[in-house]
């Protein structure tokens, strides 16, 4: 079976090493207001400390000032009042172009220069900083590898790449000068959900190695909770409504606005932050794919799981339709997979999406390790709730 890739849901421990209580602030907003003409402020008296080496996500509906706030960090937008400090320095004292070269910037439309090859695009900032062409291109080639692109793509032009590939190049370009701060303005919102999930996972993987200070703007609360070490929820009118760890925002939204914005599914989403190791694993009957044509391989219970020669799940065989299934093409497609030890959300989703009512748990190598049951997962959730209430 070929389940769709899961959204990247990783527990907090797998995020940036700096973690939630990141050390000194890398970016500080101090009473920052931005007003355009006579209109109501786009950003209103923003005070915010962004920890070094962590991912901070600005999230909110359109017109809440999240992008404006981001763009004030590299002076693409100048604040009307207030100051912004980066690494302890008031940025209004730094030349705008120089400041921008010291930060990576990834935008929604990849913003790649159409007339330059992928390699030269990635090499842009080092070249601006005076790095010799040969060295800049060598470094650019390495970065393509870092973001998971084949080096052969380096000679192509942006228009020859898919949307997902363009965004990867955008990330590589932002990393090229090895800046301590990365600004990302809805970088994954223009790609399809499958590619978006890949890119999110990739970003978390990169961040684990690089430990940059990342400020990430999105309108998608799901993306915010997946990526953020901390999430800043902006409300319409440029007000910062809540600034906390994603788990806390889902569990305890501070007001009506935040509760409404994080949405109806927040109870379910919150399961992303609960460890699934305690979920009981049950054995399940396995049928090897090459034995499907053999009628002697009967299904003993209600459902048997068909696996390939490596033990990876392919699909289900129901007992009452065993005779009809003679090849892998006849299998009943399975639901999502639950990688053992990840969150309760993935365990529950695997159970709920399975036609057999049994969520397939897989080990680190992708082999079927057993099945989980929705009822037992719910019982665990309830037990955890009671324990919290009691403690």
């Amino acid at each position: 079976m070929t389940p769709p890739p899961e959204p990247a849901e990783l527990s907090d421990s797998t995020k940036s090493p700096a973690g939630l209580a990141a050390g000194r602030p890398m970016v500080r907003f101090r009473s920052v207001t931005k007003t355009y003409g006579d209109a109501a402020p786009a950003v209103r008296d923003l005070n915010l400390d962004i920890g070094a080496g962590s991912i901070t996500v600005f999230v909110g509906p359109s017109g809440c000032g999240k992008t404006t706030s981001l763009r004030m960090i590299n002076r693409m937008v100048e604040p009307t009042s207030g100051t912004i400090e980066v690494d302890g320095r008031d940025i209004s004292t730094v030349k705008a172009a120089q400041l921008r070269r010291s930060m990576g910037y990834v935008m929604q439309s990849s913003g790649l220069l159409p007339h330059r090859t992928v390699l030269d695009n990635v090499a842009t900032v080092p070249r601006l900083n005076g790095t010799p062409r040969r060295e800049a291109r060598r470094r650019a080639a390495e970065l393509l590898d870092v973001v998971g692109l084949a080096s052969a793509l380096g000679e192509r032009y942006p228009a020859q790449l898919s949307g997902g590939q363009q965004q990867r190049v955008g990330v590589a370009r932002a990393l090229a000068a090895d800046p301590p701060v990365l600004l990302m303005d809805e970088p994954f919102s223009a790609v399809d959900p499958v590619v978006r999930a890949e890119l999110q996972e990739e970003l978390l993987r990169l961040q684990k190695e690089l430990a940059k200070t990342i400020v990430f703007v999105t309108h998608d609360i799901d993306e915010a909770t997946i990526l953020g070490d901390k999430v800043a929820v902006f409300a319409t009118g440029g007000r910062l409504a809540q600034y906390a760890a994603p788990e806390e925002i889902l569990r305890a939204p501070v007001d009506e606005f935040v509760a409404g914005f994080v949405g109806r599914d927040r109870g379910f989403r919150h399961l992303s932050f609960q460890d699934g190791t305690a979920v009981p694993l049950h054995p399940v009957q396995l049928i090897a794919a090459d034995r499907l044509p053999d009628p002697a391989a009967t299904v003993d219970g209600g459902w048997a799981l068909c696996v390939d020669s490596d033990g990876a799940p392919l699909g289900w065989v129901p007992a009452d339709r065993r005779a009809e299934i003679t090849g892998t093409a006849d299998l009943v497609p399975g639901g999502s997979l639950y990688p053992q030890g990840t969150s309760l959300r993935r365990a529950l989703d695997a159970a709920l999406s399975s036609p057999a009512g049994l969520g397939v748990a897989v080990d680190a190598d992708g082999r079927a390790a057993g099945v989980v049951k929705a009822g037992e997962i719910l019982a665990l959730i309830e037990a955890a709730r009671l324990q919290r209430a009691g403690s």
């Binding site: 921008r100 010291s102 935008m107 990849s110 913003g111 900032v125 601006l128």
Partner: protein
């Protein structure tokens, strides 16, 4: 002005006479021959285009990059296009006297609007998100203009040059109404003495020269337009060559 002897034609219509005139080897040599006249014609064209470019290109780059003064430029371009070249030529000669430059200025007026429009349309046609990205990478405004906007707007920019060159090369014949040379001599002199073979032959040569100049610019464009833009071999990703040269073509002919 010297009187030009009328050629003896065997044909009785202008078409046949024109053919005879073009076939006559005597018309292909000497200081009044077709090669020399063509060279003069191209010199006038080149000089007018050069002066026009010096005026229009920097202005167009500035307007395209900053977006300032666009309205004024559209108005002035429209006004310039409405001016009749022959009238301006006569006016300049009356004001400044005979000589090379007064008629050239009339041609400059003709070349400025398409060059200006092509330059600023080219620069401002570049996707704003690309410009925004270049700025946020830390490029200076000059770097944005010359490393991002000009290369990416090159197709439209060259469209303006092409339009201007075509108009000037076709219109440069008018300078022969005063004392200058060029291919226009055949038209003016032929008309003066009723030599329609000469008029017809001259017109054909002017048309051919215009086509040749256009072909040369088109060929040059292939090298000047960055290969990342259009004509890509990736499946379905080619942007082709159909980008309209916004306002860069056309004129007051």
């Amino acid at each position: 002005m010297v009187t030009i002897p009328r050629t003896d034609y065997t044909s009785t219509n202008a078409l046949g006479q024109g053919r005879e005139w073009l076939m006559d080897p005597a018309n292909w040599s000497g200081p009044a021959g077709i090669p020399v006249r063509t060279f003069e014609h191209l010199q006038y064209t080149g000089l007018a285009l050069l002066i026009a470019a010096v005026i229009a290109v920097p202005l167009g780059l500035f307007i395209g990059h900053t977006g300032r003064g666009q309205v004024a430029v559209v108005a002035v371009s429209g006004l310039l296009r409405a001016l009749p070249t022959l009238g301006m030529l006569t006016l300049f000669v009356l004001l400044a006297g005979l000589g090379l430059m007064p008629p050239i200025w009339a041609l400059v007026l003709l070349a400025v609007p398409p060059l200006l429009a092509g330059t600023y349309a080219g620069v401002s046609s570049v996707d704003r998100s690309v410009v925004d990205a270049a700025r946020s990478l830390g490029m200076s405004e000059t770097q944005i203009l010359f490393r991002v906007e000009v290369p990416n707007g090159m197709r439209v920019l060259l469209g303006g040059l092409r339009g201007a060159a075509l108009q000037v090369v076709a219109t440069a014949a008018v300078v022969a109404t005063i004392n200058l040379g060029g291919l226009g001599r055949y038209l003016i002199d032929g008309l003066a003495v009723g030599d329609y073979g000469r008029v017809f032959g001259g017109a054909v040569i002017i048309a051919l020269v215009a086509l040749a100049v256009d072909a040369v610019i088109a060929l040059g464009s292939r090298f000047l337009i960055p290969s990342g833009l259009g004509r890509l071999d990736a499946a379905g990703k080619s942007t082709g060559s159909g980008v309209p040269a916004a306002g860069a073509q056309g004129g007051n002919k």
